[in-house]
Amino acid sequence: MVAATTLIDRDDGFERFFLDEYARVVSIAYRVTRDAAEAEDVAQEVFARTARSPRLRAKGLLYTAAVHSALNLVRAKQRRTAREARRLRLERALEQGGGGQSDPQQVLERRMDVQAVRTALLRLPQRDAELLALRYSGMPYREIASTLNLDAAQIGTRLARAERALKKEIDRETH
């Protein structure tokens, strides 16, 4: 514990970087996870990875890492949910002699609206998911452009395309 406290406390700018950027990173991750606790988990992961390396402390890197980590988390959760549903179905089938009464998948995915957004984001090209997460966390166009190494003039076009694709995917998921 002493070493870790020293690590975060030592005067290499990490403490300031963390306090300045934490809320922004959580907010970006939240657009993808739609779950506050998961968004904070993502932020912890991203900061833990950058804590040791001063040269990795670039905002753009941090923000895109937040989107990637959040997408990974959502992807893994969906896989786990599907496995869990299979297991429950199997157990229920065994308990009821094969006559399942309800679909556990439906029970596990009650929060369909949240699931629909998460699933839609996973289906979009990663660049579109990044753009949407950054924009809807409140980031201005110029900053998005700098984070994604794009020209600010391109952001509007790409955002319009990403929003159209998002709507299509969510419609597909919910209808």
Binding site: N72, R79, V117, L166
Partner: protein
């Protein structure tokens, strides 16, 4: 005035200040631009509703959690030797070729052609801590212990390796020095399951274990681990003795061989996956692996790191990480050698380029 570009119309919705007076007037009077604007506004409102929600995290509380998190990661998270050892341990714990019947003796030589990520979450790790340790279910005898020798030059290390140890032709300048090379000798271990030890564990800990099948009692598993070669580039050791992660680590290991006498694979699998501490999800994933002779499970927290199948060095491998530059690694098997290559501050593309350039 010609029609306004869709991107500019979209930006005008969020940042109207970027819209010129002439554009504003055109958009108001042009039916076509107005229609596009209406569609874009509708899509933006839809997305806004999908992503809505303010979040106000407590950075001070998060800071305390982060300090603990960093402390918990004293062992480098991306340390491939550990990852490979863990993978091998998993495989060795479970991988006995199903020959059918009981009391059979068999030999398995691992030839993993596919590396399969097994999703291990933090909750799984915490749960595993209550699982009985190997010495509580049996006895491990060391026939030949592995020893490690460090060398300062590649040539001297290669002279002590019984296989063709390959390294990248060029490594990035950021990790070019220092370099160190380690050779581990082969090792041999024998594990014997003991029903008496399992019962003693139950009475000591007041915890129930699944009943050990009579065929499993006395079953021996002999594991022969081959030679290993480890090259480290640019890895620094800090004053507080924590490993710096920015270096490049390459591990090459001869395939392990396992011989066993006693219970069948199915019995072993059923018993071990029923032990306390193994989550249903973890058991499900391990059961689903099937052919463990050719498929090697690799424990990965895929909630945090993406894992994907890649072609590397001309064969199929498993890549873990991404292109953010916060660390990536890849493992594969070729010519009887398991390779692991990890770049602590590299992108996946950089790591793959190095892995494809071993000589």
């Amino acid at each position: 005035m010609k029609h306004i570009d869709e991107g500019e119309l979209r930006r005008a919705i969020d940042e109207p200040g970027e819209f010129s007076q002439a554009q504003r007037e055109h958009a108001a009077s042009c039916a076509q631009c107005s229609a596009v604007m209406t569609e874009l506004r509708g899509n933006a409102q839809f997305a806004g509703a999908a992503f809505e929600g303010a979040i106000h995290p407590d950075a001070s509380r998060a800071r305390i959690r982060l300090v603990r998190e960093i402390a918990a990661r004293r062992a480098p998270r991306w340390y491939f030797p550990a990852a490979i050892t863990a993978a091998a341990a998993f495989a060795l714990a479970l991988a006995f070729t199903p020959l059918g019947g009981y009391a059979s003796a068999f030999l398995t030589l691992f030839q993993p052609r596919e590396f399969v990520p097994i999703d291990i979450t933090q909750a799984d790790v915490q749960r595993l801590s209550v699982a009985p340790q190997a010495d509580q279910l049996g006895t491990l005898a060391v026939v030949r212990r592995q020893t490690r020798t460090a060398f300062s030059t590649l040539e001297s290390a290669r002279a002590h390796v019984g296989f063709d140890a390959r390294v990248p032709s060029h490594v990035p300048a950021s990790v070019a020095s220092p370099r160190s090379f380690t050779v581990a000798t082969p090792g041999e271990y024998v594990y014997t399951f003991s029903a008496a030890k399992a019962r003693a564990f139950e009475s000591r800990s007041h915890r129930r274990l699944p009943p050990m099948p009579s065929d499993l009692n006395g079953t021996t598993v002999r594991v022969r681990i081959g030679q290993a070669f480890v090259a480290q580039y640019g890895t620094r050791r800090k004053a507080n003795d924590e490993d710096e992660h920015e270096g490049l680590t390459l591990v090459e290991m001869q395939l392990p061989a396992v011989t066993s006498r006693g219970a069948s694979f199915q019995e072993l699998e059923r018993y071990m996956l029923a032990l306390p501490g193994i989550s249903p999800d973890l058991a499900l994933q391990l059961r689903a692996l099937g052919d463990l002779q050719n498929r090697m499970p690799v424990p990965v927290n895929i909630s945090k790191q993406s894992a994907q199948s890649v072609t590397v060095d001309g064969v199929q491998g498993l890549a873990i990480g991404d292109n953010t530059g916060l660390g990536a690694g890849v493992m594969w098997q070729k010519g009887g050698i398991v390779y692991g290559l990890m770049g602590g501050a590299m992108t996946m593309d950089q790591v793959l380029a190095l892995a494809n350039d071993l000589h």
